[in-house]
């Protein structure tokens, strides 16, 4: 029974990391129809930022800025020329991801590095280790911040308008290009924060992002495009399912079970948990 309970914080913290990663994906995907395969490398950039600074607390804002700026550059330089061609963006950003991974290998070396965890995060309460609690707290803070941004600020409400109907928003005088830029900055920045969180539970390597990106995309698919509630529920669900599937079967079957569950879920709700109602056909 205790082993069963021990899986809970593991599953929830995996879900928390997935959530931080998926928040950026769900908004760029929902708002711009962009599938950013290089998103995983923003996670990696955030983790290496923590490695360079060697301290967790200053690493959080620094990683947000580093990853966010990388996202901003990518959006301005390449992605904005590809709106309306989602599958082409996917392949383009994959090219970017290859280059970034090799760059990390050349800069930091191919072997994994370890970021020392701060002393105040060792130990825990009951079955909850402090480092896993910290990651969950980080995700909660991230969600609250994104929620406040979307509903309480002018720019955030404009973002929602663009998600709901890009052309109508543009006609109403919203500078959609600027909104896109900002969304990309915030979304990529959150991936950087997720990278810092990952340094608490494992080593950092050039391929760090590739381990999480596929699952994060599944969160977006299961949660529904551009949906905050959907992303939260789907991330928690997939995180828990992942850790319990590993616990009940063996680790190699877990991913297959998760994928089968997502496909089964799509049979009931083909567009994810929450759907923007619209009369548009496609």
């Amino acid at each position: 029974m205790s082993a069963f309970a021990n899986q809970l914080p593991i599953g929830l913290s995996i879900g928390a990391v997935l959530l931080l990663i998926a928040l950026g994906l769900t908004f760029t995907f929902g708002q711009m129809g962009v599938i950013n395969m290089a998103h995983g490398e923003f996670i990696m950039a955030g983790a290496y930022t923590a490695f360079l600074l060697g301290d967790l607390v200053p690493a959080l804002p620094a990683a947000f800025l580093v990853a966010g700026t990388m996202g901003l550059i990518l959006e301005r330089a390449a992605i904005r020329h590809f709106y309306g061609r989602p599958l082409d963006t996917l392949l383009l950003t994959w090219g970017v991801s290859l280059v970034l991974q090799q760059l990390a290998r050349d800069l930091f070396g191919a072997p994994n590095v370890q970021v020392p965890a701060p002393a105040w995060l060792s130990g825990g309460v009951g079955i909850l280790p402090y480092n896993r609690l910290f990651i969950m707290g980080l995700a909660v803070a991230g969600v609250v911040a994104v929620w406040a941004y979307l509903t309480r600020t002018r720019l955030g409400r404009r973002t929602q308008a663009v998600v709901q109907n890009r052309r109508l928003a543009a006609t109403s005088g919203i500078d959609t290009g600027r909104v896109d830029m900002l969304t990309f900055f915030v979304g990529s920045g959150l991936a950087g924060v997720a990278g810092v969180a990952l340094t608490l539970i494992g080593p950092v390597g050039p391929a760090l992002g590739t381990y999480y990106i596929v699952d994060a995309f599944l969160v977006v698919v299961a949660g529904g495009l551009g949906q905050l509630r959907g992303a939260v529920l789907a991330a928690a669900g997939l995180g828990l399912l992942n850790s319990y599937a590993e616990f009940w079967s063996d680790a190699s079957l877990a991913k297959v079970i998760v994928l089968a569950a997502v496909i089964a879920f799509l049979q009931v709700r083909p567009q994810g948990m929450f759907v923007l109602r619209s009369r548009a056909l496609t």
Binding site: G95, V96, L218, V221
Partner: protein
């Protein structure tokens, strides 16, 4: 008719007659490897280029074909259990392996297994009108899951190392140059036949329907067709081609392992199709051969540079020439004639 088939005939003569005469055995078997990839690429060209289904999981089907063949080769070698099973402490042949001793069953599984999986996945996904990027993500997740499964089932699949050390295929010694040449001719002929069949398919009414679904699925539905069925059949066909390619790949290259069929190799083949020209079947085949050759040539000289080059090439092709080599060639030809 003759005029239209002239380029194909010329390429066929070069591939089947000239190349085996000129190339040394090592190079010839490399070319055979690229041609195996070209078969997968042909399937991607059909599913993605024609019908608009971006499949990022062709490696899974390629792998199923490859593992089926590898299991058969291991079983016919004699000497009891396959070597890797002995190393990982398996004492009795697993039940899953038994049918693969039969060559017909093994080959049938290599082709029909992927088709069946693709048909089931396609039915589940396309019926619910899940498409575009969603479909791409699901197929990619399939590739990721497959690799973890293969690595985890060490005693059944050989784990990370996969299977290697094959000595003969259907009674022919694999170390022999004549066997390698024979394999090359088989691969090239299979590719040629599949290319002609796929081209015929694309030029038929069915092919028109594929393009129509790619460009306006809902309109096709309103006209009374069932896009889900057409897409499922097409996806299954492309999976079958990938499976067959995997089965041919194993005796040619002599290894199958999870690293050859995960997320990255699956994407690399899609990239190759894009580089060659996704809207033309010839572009898909050309892209696979060109990218395969470029990878070998580059990795021989600067190992690390390849990833940079591949990434950069990819960004350039997507931004400057989304229709690939074939698209550029056509633009030149048109500019010359007008």
């Amino acid at each position: 008719m003759i005029r239209r088939n002239l380029p194909f005939a010329a390429v066929a003569v070069i591939v089947l007659v000239v190349a085996p005469l000129l190339l040394e055995p090592f190079r010839l078997s490399l070319l055979a490897k690229y041609l195996c990839y070209a078969i997968v690429a042909l399937g991607i060209g059909l599913a993605w280029g024609q019908a608009g289904m971006l499949t990022l999981g062709q490696g899974v089907f390629f792998g199923l074909g490859g593992y089926s063949m590898a299991m058969h080769l291991k079983l016919t070698e004699g000497g009891g259990l396959p070597d890797f099973m002995v190393w990982s402490g398996v004492e009795e042949l697993p039940a899953l392996w038994v049918p693969f001793g039969d060559p017909v069953l093994a080959l049938a599984t290599a082709v029909l297994g992927p088709m069946l999986i693709a048909a089931v996945l396609g039915t589940l996904v396309f019926r619910q009108r899940v498409r575009g990027a969603y479909f791409a993500i699901l197929t990619q997740a399939l590739a990721a899951a497959m690799v973890i499964l293969l690595v985890g089932q060490q005693g059944l699949t050989g784990g990370t190392n996969g299977m290697t050390n094959f000595f003969d295929v259907f009674g022919q010694d694999l170390a022999d140059d004549s066997t390698q040449r024979g394999l090359y001719l088989v691969v090239a002929s299979v590719l040629g036949v599949l290319y002609l069949a796929t081209r015929q398919l694309v030029n038929s009414r069915y092919g028109r329907l594929l393009v129509a679904i790619r460009d306006g699925e809902d309109r096709v539905r309103f006209l009374g067709y069932d896009p889900a069925l057409v897409k499922t059949v097409t996806f299954a066909l492309s999976a079958g081609m990938a499976g067959l390619a995997g089965a041919l790949f194993v005796p040619v290259v002599g290894i199958i392992s999870p690293a050859l069929l995960g997320v990255v190799p699956s994407l690399e083949l899609v990239v190759a199709v894009a580089v060659g020209g996704r809207h033309a079947l010839a572009g898909a085949v050309l892209g696979a051969v060109v990218m395969g050759y470029a990878q070998t040539a580059f990795s021989e000289q600067f190992a690390d540079g390849w990833l940079y080059l591949q990434g950069a090439l990819f960004i350039l092709v997507m931004t400057l020439a989304p229709k690939g080599i074939i698209g550029v060639a056509e633009r030149w030809r048109r500019a010359r004639t007008t």
